[in-house]
Symmetry: C2
Subunit: 199 residues, 2 copies
């Protein structure tokens, strides 16, 4: 990697960690420069504005999510094994992401839901992409005969999102020792409804 | 109401609205004083510290949640009608709360999950209380013969929380026009698993 690219990567890694704790708005160019012993003008040479930096931070976190969760999950056999793999990898993402503050995307979602502009738009697209991958995986499970044919794939993806959000809330805020166990039980119940013949 | 109590109520109403948009950390005594045309020292006479104000804001939002959601739901007949009423009232809470920034508690949960101290502790207790009311309502549905006897009431409450979080995320961040419809479908599916005899 060229020196410029390496510096850029270091800045993004640090800024993403900062955002996972204090939010995207909380990224401070001043503090970044101080922590990394770079000049403020050097930082601005890499990222023309705070907004540009925030978008690059989103991309950085999304790339890591794809590498840690999406790509390995898509290597699992089509259908239910793939959706299980996606679930398992997603569940360990806050840990695997090596970011200090829980799930980066949960924090960003709540932070940005009242705002307008390109940062929000990029986050929305990233979340829709992931929901789309999940729905596509559900459709592959129908093709494989694992799930019932009349299943609403988008609804399943939406419900799976809720299972993860409840688990995140229970683990991070409530520090509920049963958070992991309940997240797994809720997911098994969702799978079981997907398999069942419609009444 | 005495004048002091009325002023206190006005401050809390305004501060809670502010927190629903910019977070509890974002409440600024200076801006509150300016918005309400009060002196900063007058504000400090009501709330000795920013932390004390944050806790009072939590209590204010919780009281409104109890009045708008919990108390009316508990008037519905025991069992499934009561859990349905709780769901319906909870679903319209962000609107009924008359706070500008979506669900106050979702925002506070994500904001405080990395922090320590009395504000976080109070929020955790409030959330546990609500999950406890839901679990108790599930147990009443077992007593009434509406739900299967081996149901895990705490798990149901946890899953119901996930249904609401996914709906909030879809409505607020994604602006998904199907958010309400999917939230209802996910809840019906949860009810249906609760009714079904265990395999």
């Amino acid at each position: 990697m060229r020196k410029g690219a390496l510096t850029r990567q270091t800045i993004l890694e640090h800024a993403t960690g900062m955002a996972s704790q204090v939010g995207l708005e909380g990224i401070s160019i001043g503090r970044l420069a101080e922590d990394l012993e770079l000049s403020k003008s050097g930082l601005f040479a890499h990222f023309q504005s705070k907004e540009a930096l925030q978008i690059q931070v989103l991309e950085f976190a999304a790339t890591r999510f794809v590498e840690t969760v999406v790509r390995p999950a898509l290597k699992a056999p089509r259908g239910e094994p793939r959706i299980r793999e996606a679930f398992n990898r997603w569940l360990s993402w806050p840990k695997e992401s090596a970011l200090p503050g829980g799930c980066f995307f949960v924090a960003a979602s709540v932070e940005l839901d009242d705002r307008e502009g390109p940062v929000r738009e990029r986050l929305v697209q990233l979340q829709k992409d992931w929901l789309g991958v999940l729905a596509e995986t559900v459709r592959s499970a129908v093709d494989e005969g694992h799930f019932r044919p009349d299943i609403d794939a988008e609804l399943f993806a939406h419900e799976m999102y809720g299972v993860m959000l409840a688990g995140h809330h229970a683990a991070r805020l409530l520090r509920d020792p049963k958070a992991g166990q309940r997240t797994r039980a809720a997911f098994e119940s969702l799978l079981s409804s997907a398999r069942r013949e419609a009444a």
